[in-house]
Every structure is written in C-alpha cells, then in structure tokens.
Amino acid sequence: MRRIYKSGDSIFNLQVLGDIVQIEGERLKIEYLHGEPGDWKLEIDGQPVRVRWAKRGRHIWLHMAGRSFHFEKAAGGRGSGAAGGNADRIQRAPMPGQVREVYVEAGEAVEEGQELLLLEAMKMEIRVQAPRAAQVAAVNVGAGDTVDKDQVLVELDGEDQ
C-alpha cells in the first residue's frame, strides 16, 4: 500500500507492507504495543517509543522523542501530481487578517517579486509578492477587507508568459 505524506516542504513516499514501512529505501519495522487515544507506545525497529498524537481530517500531528511533527496526507494517496499545479497562479492569504492596501489591478503586468498587496494581522505586515512575472488575472479583495487563511487574494495568468 502506497502513501504520501507532506510535512512543510518535504514529501515522503511510503510503502506499507504489514508492519514494515519502506521510506526512501529504508525499511522500518513498526509495531503497536499499547496505549489510549492520542497516546501510544510503539516499537520502531525494536526500540520502544512513546508517541502523543492528534488527527484532524488529513492532518496528523505527533510528538515523539522531544519533537513535534505535522504531516498532511496527500489526497488520493497514490502517485504525485494534483497538488502543486495551481500554486503559482493563485495567491492565497498566508494567515487570517485584514487587507491594508492593494497595489495591482486586473490586467496589469507584474514582475517577479513585485508587491501585490499588503496584509496586516497580529501586529504584523505581510507583503504578498508575485512569485514570477505574470499578468494579473483577477484581484478578489479590496483594502479593508477581512480575509481568512488560504482565501484567494490575487489570481495570476497561466504559466506561459
């Protein structure tokens, strides 16, 4: 059984066969020893380890050996693709906040790194920049608007400029 998990910029392809997990050419034997929801004792390659965890939708959070990790299970769970494709075209709000200023209009050509708009939240200013040279296809927000995390702010034209 193949699985893909993302954590930050890292992508892990896994092959799960019984209690053997293969990742990046390594084989790890993993066994469930005992536990209660959110707090398990596992044995990984013969070493017992306590894992505190939480799951929400495709998101898995865990704490083990003094560190915390967040993984997101890739949709569908097979192959690569799907993700990524629109990433460059659609500029989303990296955090909830308020749009302070909008610097571009639909139809305008922008340079890579050009500031598209200014977002403010939690005492911080965030300058949303164009990831590449493109034409602005749509501006979906105006100054003063309150936006949610991941709300689409600006859409750029397709990749081929």
Binding site: I30, G66, M122
Partner: protein, 500 residues
Amino acid sequence: MTKTQAIKSLLIANRGEIAVRIIRGARALGSRTVAVYSTADAGAPHVALADEAVEIGPAEASQSYLNAEVMLAAARQTGAQAVHPGYGFLAENADFAQAVLDAGLTWVGPTPAAMRAMGDKAGARALMEAAGVPLLPGYQGADTPAKLRAAAEEIGYPLLVKASAGGGGVGMRVVSEANELDEAIKAARRTAEAAFGDGRLLLERYLPRGHHVEVQVLGDQKGNLVHIFERECSTQRRHQKIIEESPSPLLDAGLRAEMGAAAVAAAKAVDYSNAGTVEFLLDPKTKDFYFLEMNTRLQVEHPVTELVTGLDLVQLQLQIAAGEPLPFRQEDLQQTGHSIECRIYAEDPAAGFLPQAGEVLKLEWPQGEGIRVDAGIVEGQTVTSHYDPMLAKLIVWAADRPAAIARMRAALAETVLLGLTTNLEFLQAVLASDDFAAGVIDTAYVDRELAEWAPPPIPLRAVAAAARVDAGPPADESELDHDPYSPWARLDGFRIGGRG
C-alpha cells in the same frame, strides 16, 4: 502584614495567560475575581477560573478588551472594587486608569500622571535627561519628514524610527542608510497610527549589537521605591522578546547596582508607584547603558524576577494598590540562582514567524522541580488571529545558568502542543546554540543570524509513526477513526496491554 482595606473583589481587564496569572495571585490574597471575555474567548481558561465572568463584546479587541466603557460597565455590574489591567490592551492607557479612579475604583498600577509622563516617549526622554538617566543620542520634536531628515543627519546612521506613543517594538524601524529613511518614516507612521491612534515619531541612535537589559522597579504610595534586579531580554525576533532571563549574563554586582540606581532614579522622576520596568540598552563592549523606555505595568516576563527573588509581584501590586507600604527595603532583596522564560508562540519560525491559528488538539505541559507554566490555553481551545499569538510561558529555575538552560531544554522537549505550528523547536535551537550559552545574543541576533533557520530534518521514524497513527489503532480500539484499507486493520483482535 497590615490587612488595611484589602481588595475584596478584582476585575481583570485582560485575557490569556496573564489573566490566569492575576486571578491566581488575587485569589491567594482572598479576593473575589471577575474575568471579562470576548465571544471568541468563551472557552478560555481565564473565564473558567474566575469566580465570575462577564462577556464584554465581539472578538475584535477594539470592541471588547480595548473598550474602556464596557470594562467599567462590567466592573459596576459585578461590584468589583479594583481593576487590574495586566499588560497590553488598556494597561498603559492613562485615560482608562483615570476613568477607573473617577468611577471610585482602585487602579492596580501607577498614577495616570506617571503613565502619561512615561507613555509619551519624547517627553520621557526629556524627563530622564533632567533626572540624569543616560540616554542615546536622539531627536524628539516636530516630526515633519524634513525635520526628521535633518535630525537623522545629526544623529548618524544606523538609527531607529520609533513611535512616540509606542511600546513593545510596534512601529519601530531600523534605518541603516539615509535613502531608507523616507520609507521607514512612512511605514512607522502608518503602524503607529493603526496601533496607538497617534502617528508621532522620534529618532534614536541604533546600537547594532546592543543588549536589552531591563530593571524591575516597585514603589508604594508613600514614595518608597526599590529595584528588583534585572532581566536580560535580548533574544528577540522583530523587536519582540522570546526568551528572557535573570540574572543577565552581562552584569556584575557593580553594574547591577548602577543600573538599579538609574532605574530607581527614572521611576522617582515621575513619582512612580506600583510595579514598573525601566528598559535599558546595554553596550556589551563598553558596558555603557542607555534608557529606552519605562513600561508602566506588569511585564510579560515578570516570572523570572519572581523565581530568583521568591516574591509574588501580582500580590505585591494588589497590596500596594490597597495602600500598604512596601514590605521590604532594598537591602532585604537578593537574587538567588538563575531563571529563564521562553514564550511559546503560535507561529512558524521557518516562514518569517508567521502567526498561526488553529485548534489545540493535544496539550501536555512539562512538570517537575523548578518548572513553572503560565498558560492561556487549554486543550480543545481554538487559537484565533484576533489576539497576540503568545500561547503560554515556560519558566524554569535552577541553581546556575547552565543548569537552567538544561532544565529549560528538557521542559521544552516535554511540552506536547499539537494542532498548530509553534516556535517550540526554534526555542530549542536558540537554547542549544553556543551563542546563547556564551550570553552574547544581542537584540538583532535572531533576525540577523537565524533568518534562514529551518527545523532539523524529519527522521524517517517519525514518518513511519505518522503512517501508523494514520492507520488507526488495532481493530479493538476502533472508537477512533479507522481506515478499513489499512494493512494494520487486519491485526484483528491483536492487542497487547490494551484496556480490558
């Protein structure tokens, strides 16, 4: 130990960890506690902990925690005798303090006059100059762009553009060259107007490797003033503190006494009473120090002072507000051992410290000797983007600095806070660094040296564990969500040490 007119009931005009901290302090003195909360905070721990809680408005701080009128109404409605403002929100708002007094209530803090004098940064500089407190070269006065440009040439670069009404680094900009000045003035003014409703600016020489060392002061209403030693707060990101400690690794007894005396002189200049903090910038080479500002309130990092002195600053604040004299003299106070505080933020240090929102899905605090947790969150609570992203403070005490660092690292490793991205791993990295051990971290260090910081690689063991967690428990424990296609789902009936 006079129990003169002790405060019988106290309204805490704040939220989060500091509201919880104040409730505990007040309760220990036998006061009834009244919490206030916005609709976003109905499930917050300060609400559950207080004897009584009043909803004061919607999530937007401007209509709840920053709204002086609803605060006063809540005090009237609940019969509270006194108001403790905590830090942030209305804590340094002299008009609010005055309104509290005008309503016949006790204000747990300095006089509005002292707050006004220190709140106006430009005016405070003038007062400090007169009081003989050392100052950095700077400019306060008419702040048209042309005047500021001329003044900047006098002071020289690099320099700081600061909000005259500001504090906590809000609206502060470092300008390294003349051609960056105009943009910095514009940006600082915009932030200052948004944050304080006052866009006035001042300039100050910038000391690139300066340390932030502040001195806790405490005065009663009879004019007795003491300092309660220093806190080193140089580990900052974007001018906001993330790690604080006492004592400072840079101070010896002589410098400590000198800075303490300067802090007391600063406080005396405004007839200060109650708890306050005089912030200094310290040149690590020359050991010259300069007045930055005075915070006329309880400080976020007050616990490190408490742990090295054994004092309870919140209780002292309440006793002083009730009219009691200071229960000690300067020579009675001493620092013992070493204390460090880490501020735990919902933020992503690998992405420019971007604040994070989300639900706290699992929460376990470290425990043990010398560990204190001042938390403003509970498991199941949703952290919103409406307020400061600080979730809690982890504070440790140990006999010396290396032991305190080791204890803090162990405490951070034991902290389980799942559901949002936090700065826990970043704090670990700073504490593990040779520079922190050497005590050479200056206020710009994090922004300069750790801008490219990324968490260490994810061990494959963790990925495997995630896959195992994802697959759900063995069949018997199927109260959890369960993936029928998981290879582990076939471990039917297999259970070791399960609950039977």
